[in-house]
Assembly symmetry: D2
Homo-oligomer: 157 residues x 4
C-alpha cells in the first residue's frame, strides 16, 4: 500500500505529524500516530474507561474519531504543500463492539485527486495481540487550497 | 415530530436517561441530554478547547459522537422494554466547521421497525443564539432483543 | 423549500430540462421531470415489470437511479452558468419495498457551495394516491467548472 | 477471498443463480453473473448507449444497480437455506466516469451475521482489457427469515 503513491510534498511526514500534534482532541483521547507514509496513516488509541458507552465498550464515536483523523492524515500525505485536508463526509459500519486493550485505525487512500480524495479507514480492536475488525469506513476529503493548516478559529469566551 | 410516534415502553424516558447517565464518554465530552420524547432525542455539548482539531474548531469526531448518541437514544425511545439499541452504521456530511459556543444534536426517527430503525441526526452550532447546521446524518440502529442495557464488558487490565 | 434559494443562472430551468432530455437512461426507465425550481427537483417513474427484482418490487437500483438524477438536477439549478454537476457519492437507506403504481423522487439542496453541494433525495411509492417513503438519501455533488453539460465520451465500438 | 467463508446452504449457487434469473431488471440492463462463490459474487454489464447519462458515460444509477445486486447475491451465498437477502442501505463513491466496453461489479462479504451482513462492492470499467475502479461501496443486507425468494408482490394494473 505504501509504495503505491508518491507524495508531492517531500516534507509530508513532518507536516502531518505537526498537524496531528496540534489536535487537542487526539491528546484528549490518548491517540498516537504510529505510521505515516504516502497514502497511508495509522493511529493507535488505548482502551480508556472514560471513552466507553453504557456497556463498557469503547464508544462508537471514539472509534469514528480515530477513523476520521486517520483518513484525513492519509489524504494529507498526498496533498500539495499549499493544501490542507477537510473532511467532507464519511460512512462507517460498526462490525463488532469496541472491546480490546487498544484500537488501531488504518487508513489508505483509494483514489487521490486534485480536489477530492477518497480514503478507506478501518479500525481494529486488539486483544492479546489479535486484531479484529470493528469499523470499516469510506471517507471523502477535500483539499483546501492555499490554507495554512493551523489555528484560524478564535474560540468563544 | 414528537407527536408522530407512540412509545411501546411507558417508562421510555427513564430508561433512556439512565442509559445516557451510564455513558462515560458523554461526561468526557461534557454532553447533556436536553430533550427526549417518542422518536426524538436532543443532546447539547459546550465548546471545549480539548475537543478541537488543528484549526480550533470542534473535532468532527466529537460532532459525530453526539450525532451517534442522539440517534441511538431517539431509536431507544421507541423500542420494546426488553430491547436495547445498537448502532449498525451511519453516514454523515460535515457542512460547516464546528465553530460556536455550543453544539446541539437533534435526532428523530424516520422509520421505526421491529429489528431496524432509521434515524436522521443533525448537529447545529449555536453562536449568539443562532443555529447553523454543521452535520447531517442518516443512521441505522438495530434492536438487540432481550439484552439488558447495562455493563457487559469487563475492561482489560 | 423552493423559495429558500436563488438561482445564479436565470436560465436554470431550460438548462436542467435540456440536460435531463439528453439522458438516455431516464428514457430507458420511463422517468419524467415533473418539477424543477431553485434547489429542488422532482422526478416521476411509473411501475414497470422490466425494472423489478425477484419479488416483483421495483429494483432498488432503479429507485437509486431516480434519487441520484433528482439530486444532481436539484444541485444543477443552483450552479453558475458555466458549471455542471458531477455525483461524488451518496448513501441511501431502503425503508420499504418498491411497491406502487409510480415512484416520485424529491430532491432538495441542504447546503449549496461553490465546489460541493449536499442534497437530500427521498423516493416515495405512490399507491391509490398515497405516498409512502421508500428511500431516503444524502448525496454530495461537485460543480465541474467550465465544462459544457453535453456529450464528451465517444462510446466504444 | 472465496476460501474465507463456508456456505451454510450446499445448494447456494443454484439458489443465487435462480434468483438472479428472476430479476427482470438484470435482463433490462443486460447483466450477467460471471462468478459466484461463498461470500463473493461478480456481475458483468456491457456498455449500452441506452444506459448513459448526458455525457455518454454509463449512468451512475446503472453502476449502483450492479453494485447493489452483486452485494445482495454475495450476502445470499452465506445465508441459511430458509433466508433471503434484503438491501438495508449502502453508500457509494463514484471515483471515475463510467467509460468502458463493459463494467464488472465485484462484491465480497466483509462481515457475515445471522441478521445483518456487510459487503464491499466495487465496480470496474474495462477498456482494452484494463480494469479501472469506478465505484466503491459498503452495503448492509438483512436476512429475511423464512421468506421464499420469489414473487410476492402483485404488480398494479
Amino acid at each position: 500500500m505504501t509504495a503505491q503513491f508518491q507524495a508531492k510534498n517531500p516534507d509530508f511526514e513532518k507536516r502531518v505529524r505537526d498537524s496531528f500534534a496540534r489536535q487537542p482532541m487526539m491528546a484528549h483521547l490518548g491517540v498516537e500516530m504510529t505510521e505515516v507514509a504516502p497514502g497511508t496513516c495509522v493511529l493507535d488509541m488505548p482502551y480508556n474507561r472514560e471513552l466507553t458507552q453504557q456497556h463498557g465498550y469503547i464508544h462508537g464515536g471514539a472509534l469514528a474519531t480515530i477513523a476520521d483523523s486517520a483518513a484525513g492524515y492519509a489524504a494529507f500525505t498526498l496533498m500539495a504543500p499549499e493544501d490542507s485536508p477537510l473532511t467532507v463526509e464519511y460512512k462507517l459500519n460498526i462490525l463488532r463492539p469496541g472491546a480490546g486493550e487498544h484500537f488501531v485505525a488504518k487508513a489508505h487512500v483509494i483514489k487521490p485527486g486534485r480536489t477530492l480524495t477518497v480514503v478507506q479507514a478501518d479500525v481494529y480492536a486488539v486483544r492479546d495481540g489479535t486484531e479484529s475488525l470493528c469499523v470499516t469506513s469510506i471517507q471523502t476529503l477535500m483539499a483546501l487550497a492555499g490554507k495554512a493548516d493551523d489555528l484560524r478559529y478564535a474560540p468563544p469566551g
